[in-house]
């Protein structure tokens, strides 16, 4: 069964794109046919893979789904990893999905199940109609959290939203992102939150590392740059935890 994983958070700049790019790369390196869907109109993930969307592709094509979308999937420089690049017209995806007359993202994404074992979605921040659509389309929603009190608050907001909308809370899987262990607040927040079984944080945390920041310059996943770097190992561990023991391929 294909696993669809959304990288999501209400807050911006928390490491969603960094995680989507590096997790997708790790999945493909593990031998799984993998697709990365860049749904953020800013196209940061597409930028990291040096890919642009074709002029003919955009929001409307995406929402039609099916073969018309397939044509715009591009191979990355890495074996087994394809990407559906973002387009600037996605900034109005929200409005388009809002009128309810189109296909839902869940229907559109089901089409990828034949060709890919793992599908990662890089989402734009905020809670919108688009994010609700994503919540329904994804099997799991992986949420990077910078360990600050403010982040903890936004995370609780997300849980509340799920409760209000009758969405399945179990899909939400948070992990600590951009952790700076020399900061006392980071240590304290991690201690407090990871002790709380209700929050279900992954045990792997991604530290704050210059190599991740440098991806904007190298334009490649950290493991493609240095497979044994600290950052590469951290994302690989995160991938293994997400994949789980029985999904080895």
């Amino acid at each position: 069964m294909t696993q669809t994983i959304a990288l999501y958070s209400i807050k911006g700049g928390v490491g969603k794109t960094a995680a989507a790019v590096n997790l997708a790369h790790a999945a493909a390196r593990d031998g799984h046919p993998t697709l990365l869907c860049d749904l953020d109109p800013q196209g940061a993930a597409s930028y990291y893979f040096r890919v642009r969307s074709a002029r003919k592709f955009g929001r409307k094509k995406l929402l039609k789904g099916g073969k018309g979308v397939d044509k715009h999937i591009k191979g990355t420089d890495y074996e087994g990893l394809d990407i559906l690049p973002a387009d600037f017209s996605y900034r109005k995806l929200d409005v388009a999905l809002g009128d309810g007359s189109r296909k839902t993202l869940k229907e559109i994404f089901r089409h990828f199940h034949d060709d890919y074992e793992w599908v990662f979605i890089d989402c734009p921040p905020n809670i919108t109609v688009l994010s609700e659509n994503i919540f329904r389309a994804a099997d799991r929603i992986v949420v990077p959290c910078i360990p600050t009190t403010l982040s903890a608050l936004t995370y609780t907001k997300l849980l509340d939203f799920f409760a209000e909308e009758g969405l399945n809370r179990d899909k939400i899987i948070p992990f600590f992102s951009m952790v700076e262990s020399r900061k006392r607040m980071h240590r304290e927040v991690i201690d407090a939150l990871s002790g709380n079984a209700g929050y279900r944080f992954l045990s792997t945390a991604i530290p704050y590392l210059a190599e991740v920041e440098r991806m904007g310059v190298t334009r490649m996943p950290v493991a493609a740059q240095h497979p044994s770097s600290r950052a590469a190992r951290a994302y690989r561990e995160l991938w293994l935890e997400l994949r789980g023991p029985h999904r080895s391929g």
């Binding site: 642009r52 715009h72 999937i73 420089d77």
Partner: protein, 528 residues
């Protein structure tokens, strides 16, 4: 996409031209390759568009046209031997391969070594949009004990490496592929799908060599003797071609094909009346019958041993151990028979027969009056029609009398009639329009398959009964014949009862539901 290119094409041509189109070109590291190519004696993989290679301790099954990997499996051992499908580990490779090779063995044929250069073609964003590979492959025939192929001709030109150019597109980037195609088009190159076949040729093989459906080029107005000779020469070639494989015992098809060629030869001489000199015909028919006879038992045992898995599935598990004992005995007997056949085929008698026969076929000249049969110079087509008509009406006459109560012997006899007719169809197929003869051959083959199966079942049962008698033996310690008969009867019953039991088990659900759904039941015991 792969292109066979002349060695004169500069390896850097394509990358350089792409660079001129504005792409960024980066050459990757050079690498070396080494693998071994396999196929069955009758080129089954090649003719199904497949390529089986062994590389660094693994077998890989590829699609021959685009090199796409279909399956792989670990390969133990050096690979210098014949592999039957059950020698491969259970898994996707064995499944895919088994369907194609069936009971044939794959043989190590060609060792390929090569150098490879690769280029990454990138766009202005420095994104890879294409990959090019240039390979020079050297093919050398594998030498191994038991190689069933004829030794390579000595006048073979020294092999020159095969140059291949491979263009690998990246999903979503079609323009660079088109650009590469245009460049190669200008060089007059079109892409090729016969790299594997080319490698076989480089190593001195001829993968199109005598197949099961030969084209002999018979013409309707040829003198009958000339046509008969062509037919016989072909069968002679097939027989000789299979000798080495029979002796090396690589798979059971060598012996089978060898025997079929002998049988066809005898049949051609007997059916196509008086086209060759009667004395020679009589002589060679008798000699070939003798050759075939020495391997009759071996062939029966082969057929039997091939049934092993099928037998297993027929029997309930508790009888498997007994079956294994039984097959061990058969295998032992087969070894004995095989050695006998080898001794015979290496002996002077056999060699003389084959040499004489070959010489006769080579030099016989039907134009010389003293050598000719009475029909030697009549045109072959009318003679073929007459011969077919005769064999056909005989088959029809006999077949029509066979009712449900006819004795087994009648069916056995009909099998032989049918076989004769089918051989005639095959000999002469080229003389008639394809559409007239092929459907008929197909029907005749089906009829013969049915009769053949009837006969096989009979032979198998006989072999089993024989085996039982042998178990009894007469030495001290061997069980008495009565005990064995009793065990056989019990085994038969156990099997029958087991089959019945699983039938009954399957019926349970239906019968239970019928009770459950019965309207009247609800009157006493309503659903809650």
């Amino acid at each position: 996409m792969e292109f066979l290119v002349p060695s004169s094409l500069d390896p850097d041509h394509l990358p350089a031209e792409l660079a001129r189109c504005g792409y960024r070109v980066r050459e990757g590291r050079k690498s070396r390759h080494r693998f071994r190519l396999f196929d069955t004696f009758d080129w089954r993989l090649l003719s199904h568009g497949l390529e089986l290679i062994q590389r660094r301790g693994r077998f890989h099954l590829h699609a021959a046209d685009d090199g796409r990997e279909i399956a792989y499996a670990p390969a133990a051992g050096s690979g210098k031997r014949a592999w039957l499908s059950h020698h491969f580990p259970d898994g996707p490779l064995r499944d895919a391969l088994g369907k194609i090779i069936e009971i044939r063995a794959v043989l190590p044929l060609v060792d390929v070594t090569g150098e490879e250069r690769t280029w990454e073609i990138r766009n202005a964003d420095d994104k890879r949009v294409l990959r090019c590979r240039r390979r020079a492959l050297h093919a050398a025939r594998v030498t191994w004990r038991g190689d069933p192929h004829p030794p390579p001709p000595t006048d073979l030109p020294p092999p020159s490496p095969l140059h291949l150019l491979c263009v690998e597109p990246v999903t979503g980037y079609s323009k660079p592929v088109r650009d590469a195609e245009t460049i190669l088009d200008d060089q007059g190159l079109t892409h090729s799908t016969d790299r594997t076949e080319e490698l076989f040729r480089q190593a001195g093989f001829d993968p199109a060599a005598p197949a099961k459906k030969p084209v002999l080029g018979l013409q309707p107005d040829w003198p009958a003797a000339r046509a008969t000779l062509e037919i016989l020469r072909h069968q002679y070639r097939v027989a000789r071609l299979n000798e080495r494989g029979v002796l090396a015992d690589l798979d059971t098809e060598f012996l089978h094909d060898f025997r079929v060629a002998l049988r066809r030869s005898r049949s051609a001489m007997a059916r196509i009346k008086k086209s060759l000199p009667p004395a020679a015909t009589r002589h060679f028919r008798a000699r070939l019958a003798e050759v075939a006879r020495t391997s009759n038992r071996l062939r029966d045992l082969d057929v039997h041993l091939l049934q092993r898995d099928a037998y297993r599935q027929m029997l309930p598990p508790e009888l498997h151990a007994g079956l294994d004992t039984f097959f061990a005995l058969l295998a032992e007997e087969r070894q004995h028979e095989f050695r006998k056949v080898v001794r015979y085929m290496r002996g002077a008698d056999y060699r003389r027969t084959m040499d004489e026969w070959g010489a006769f076929l080579a030099v016989h000249d039907p134009q010389l009056p003293e050598a000719a049969g009475a029909n030697a110079l009549t045109p072959v087509r009318p003679l073929a029609e007459k011969t077919i008509a005769k064999a056909c009406s005989r088959l029809l006459r006999r077949g029509r009398t066979i009712g449900p109560n006819a004795p087994d012997e009648a069916l056995h006899a009909l099998r032989l009639d049918c076989k004769k007719l089918r051989y005639l169809f095959e000999f002469f197929a080229e003389l008639f329009p394809e559409g007239e003869i092929r459907p008929l051959i197909k029907r005749a083959k089906r009829l013969q398959d049915l009769l053949g199966e009837f006969n096989d079942l009979f032979v198998q049962r006989e072999t089993l009964r024989h085996g039982l008698l042998r178990l009894a033996g007469d030495g001290p310690g061997s069980p008495p014949a009565e005990a064995i008969a009793a065990a056989a009867a019990a085994g038969g019953l156990i099997t029958h009862l087991e089959r019945r039991r699983s039938q009954v088990r399957r019926n349970f659900a239906k019968t239970f539901t019928a009770f459950e759904q019965c309207r009247h039941r609800r009157r006493f015991c309503p659903d809650d």
